[in-house]
Amino acid sequence: MTPRILRSTTGRILRQLRHDRRTIALMLLVPVLLLTLLYFMYENAPGVFDGIGLIMLGIFPFVIMFLVTSIAMLRERTSGTLERLLTTPTGKLDLLFAYGIAFGAAAAVQASIAAGVAYWLYDLDTAGTTGLVILIAIANAVLGVALGLFCSAFARTEFQAVQFMPVVVVPQLLLCGLFVARDQMAGWLQAISNALPMTYAVEALQEVGAHPDPTDKLWRDLGIVAGCIVVALVFAAATLRRRSP
């Protein structure tokens, strides 16, 4: 890895994003709109928004960054820019980390706005601090980026790439404990749930919701999410081939 190349590649990805005002607007506003929807859905059920709204703060960045990254990386692969970059001094990790940092930064802005709205406009109540919620949201976003980078290798067109979203995202959403508490699931469902990274992100958020100080479980869960990010990046690096048939 070369710091200069990592820096300029991160800058290039952010510049591409900056030219795309509509995507920025969607990225920043959609979570806020969905939170608004949730808030009013549970307006007459006290305490429910505190649970679901909190989990959503972690899920939005994951879903949106997965989608954005898988399409962006697919474009690199299909437009020939990836092949060209691999003939330059750019390393595979330069490129992958640049995506992680650039979209991670975008996710930080997104998560901060969403959390700000949830806490101050809709009175989200958590025992732990907002900072921890945002930290988990960013970790989740980077996880989405890493999985998106990896999954883009298995799509040939953008049409196919968007179909990976239900495959990768929906099972994690269903089994993370949002709809049915994990200890009430059948054993085999729990086993699957244990193998999915989002489970730990959601558990970490619930820990922040329930405890004023960061718990050991929270750090363990964040560590697992970080581990999954590394594994996904390693797999993504394996899909970047300098030579193709």
Partner: protein, 244 residues
Amino acid sequence: METAIEVRDLVVERGKRRVLHGLSCAIPRGSVTGLLGPSGSGKTTLMRAIVGVQVVKAGVVKVLGQAAGSAALRHRIGYQTQSPSVYPDLTVRENVRYFASLYNGITAADADQTVVDVGLGEQAGQLVGTLSGGQYARASLACALVCRPEVLILDEPTVGQDPVLRDELWQQFRVMAATGTTLLVSSHVMDEAGRCDRLLLIREGDLIADDSPEAIRDATGLHDLEAAFLHLIRSTQTPAEAAR
């Protein structure tokens, strides 16, 4: 003369089809070599092998004395793919500055100069996606030129360019060669062939001519290079192919 690119017994298969059948050639340093041949003859595959992005079945490809695609070469080689590979959602200047930033010692000012050199000075602030086809291709060319590489592999760089621009680009290629750059340029346009120091003519993955334009004219007895190539292509056809 010193050899910049050496290809020995290169065999490439794409899918089940054998694209290059044990091709050998040597390209001298500080020259412009034209790579010509009918479409589908293996020009792009040979270029990809030289850049080091093509999986090869057998044979040796060396650039500046090192194995093609080796890490040390990535600072010294520039490659323009046939279909322009730049970021359509960035401006011309942003694209070229980005590719410049990947190399040591190439500045943003160098990038801006390269944008002017390819005739896109007025479009520097325009998004590449909004350019015309010819301008789009020149933006891609600028990204290959900007690192001032010792070896420059250009796959059909002048397609879609008007005659005046084509002439200017070829003058630049000549200047680069005069200062020691080795250029390999594929082309379909025969009046460009006459501006090369050497010509490689390939047909169905075999090299059928590797000589200077003058030597090819002399050997075929034809002054017009297009006629000379047609003659060479037809004379290497098997009777069965000719009957088709």
